[in-house]
Chain length 344, copies 2
């Protein structure tokens, strides 16, 4: 099959082996796949991520950075076939997406970060038939590809255990932060404050459901909120993923505050335990979507209660992957560019 | 009054000004006061603790390390008088203890770490009459002095939100860890695993209610528990307070594990966010007792449901404070030595 693959920290376009479905595996033809900041991260720092996974326990331990693998974990595709002995619950021709996880002998492979389970930057994928979910046939492919990144935000939102008494603050309005905002709105949480350096992202945050969006260089996002009875944000979602954020939030959070660490930061983070103890803070580490979040995200996108249209930028073929990855980290890039691997 | 006081990191015995009660303040004659590891900590590293409090927000910002102050925050004493205009709810002659907090113009002073509010290493103290609680007259003074350190452990235990489904692990069996164990037992949590390097402390842990006490150099305290259906400790209390504990626990904890950070560590702590995210861990920072914990601790000590007798070592006069502080950090020292400041 044709694919955009990573090898030794470089993007290549070319032939990769067609995956062969085993029992319980669907063979899927990819229609659309989002390009995610973690793909960029992995392209540059993949060896470090693999080493840390081996040392500390993580899902990338089995990956060999020097061997080709096909990334792409925000995908939608069409079922072509199944491995022998499969349940075949979704008929060939129907569309599916999935948590990018494949069960393997009691362990899990991450689809897109595995030599056995190519991701959505290739023409063909294998999905676990017990994990994948069917996508309505009339849902646009690119919208369907946003189910996974939205589900990550919904998981983070949910892990904060938000209640009607919380004033939520979302730091960073990339796909994850926007998904958190949309999730909080869906749960009826108010107020929701968003913070991002860039005006375009703040506009998207308001569209996603934030009541206020601030530039943290101009207004402290931790300040009391005059329009909301001078409440102070007490439930703080970290969706930036840069070193130093945790201690900065600890210093800014109010007594009894709760922090959800959503941003994926591979650097060692430093904090002062006693500063967090003085305020009795709680830190919930959020990791990524579970099947229930995929189901919620799919339903919300399909019924229009969450609109991901503003996330979507250009659509590229395989030959556009390298350039898009090089340019997408900037805040002026669209939230998501998608690749259609059927197109070169 | 006579007192053992700290000045510039040294212990002195001598005269200190008699405190004068204002409105809402009781003047109290100290009967007994526990010597705590934080006193030792403050004696050696007080300037650093004050600096960090000023930089990061903490209760010691107003203290001048170069000026005398009288420590001692685990006290019981007898009410002598009140400031003018006080409510005087507890009659003179009755015994009281208190969260070591004094309200001051909308802020709080920590009794024992304040130039205005001397602690229990002196003959006289001021207590906030709205915060102090009466101690039954027939309760032994030294047992009553243990209400505060026990209440710290009860607060930590409670902040972990333990349920019947949790298998609890308490790392470190000093006064705080023992208080956590006693609190968990009071709440009916099982199993409770205790870990400490020292046999004497492990014995105390079993007396306090732990089902198993292990030497972590011999048996991993995070291992499955054959006597409890191979459950793995999922609610982990850090009561050691040494640098590096948080990341070590993150690496050892199971998926969905909860960590309560009770140990008071002033060093910068490092952690890998992604390692905690992979397991969706939750970290609750615990800070110290609230009035409800003091009430619970007093009731439990008074009715015998928690027995602090094994905690108590020698009783010293003021002249014994310096030597006791020098020797108490070792695990072979009793959990608590108390000072009676009426005795030289």
């Amino acid at each position: 099959m044709k694919a955009a693959y990573f090898e030794n920290g470089k993007v290549h376009i070319g032939e990769q082996p067609d995956p062969v479905p085993g029992k319980g595996q669907a063979l899927v033809r990819t229609h659309s796949c989002g390009l995610c900041a973690s793909d960029v991260h992995f392209l540059h720092a993949g060896q470090n991520i693999i080493d840390l996974s081996r040392r500390l326990g993580g899902p990338y331990a089995a990956l060999d950075f020097g061997r080709p693998f096909v990334p792409g974990h925000e995908f939608v595709g069409e079922v072509i076939d199944y491995g022998p002995g499969s349940r075949r619950a979704v008929a060939p021709g129907r569309k599916v997406t999935s948590v990018p996880i494949m069960r393997q002998d009691g362990a899990h492979a991450v689809i897109g970060y595995s030599h056995d389970c190519p991701g959505g930057f290739g023409e063909l994928m294998l999905l676990d038939e017990e994990i994948m979910i069917e996508v309505p046939g009339d849902l646009d492919d690119d919208h369907a590809a946003m189910v996974e990144p939205l589900a990550v935000g919904l998981e983070h939102a949910r892990r904060g255990r938000p209640t009607k008494d919380d004033a939520a603050l979302v730091l960073g309005c990339g796909a994850i932060g926007l998904g958190v905002i949309a999730g909080l709105k869906l749960m009826g949480i108010a107020p929701i404050i968003a913070a991002d350096f860039h005006a375009g992202r703040r506009e998207l945050a308001i569209k996603a459901g934030a009541h206020i969006a601030v530039d943290p260089r101009e207004i402290s996002p931790h300040a009391p909120l005059p329009d909301f009875g001078n409440r102070v944000p007490n439930l703080i979602y970290e969706c930036v993923g840069q070193k130093g954020m945790l201690q900065r939030i600890i210093e800014a959070a109010p007594f009894d505050g709760r922090i959800v660490m959503g941003g994926y930061c591979m650097d060692e983070e430093a904090l002062f335990v006693f500063a967090a103890q003085n305020k009795r803070l709680n830190v919930q580490f959020a990791g990524g979507e579970e099947p229930q979040d995929m189901a919620t995200a799919l339903r919300a996108i399909a019924d229009g209660s969450i609109d991901v249209t503003p996330w979507l930028g250009a659509r590229v073929g395989l030959s556009g992957v390298e350039k898009t990855l090089a340019e997408m980290s900037g805040p002026l890039a669209p939230v998501r560019t998608v690749v259609d691997p059927r197109v070169l």
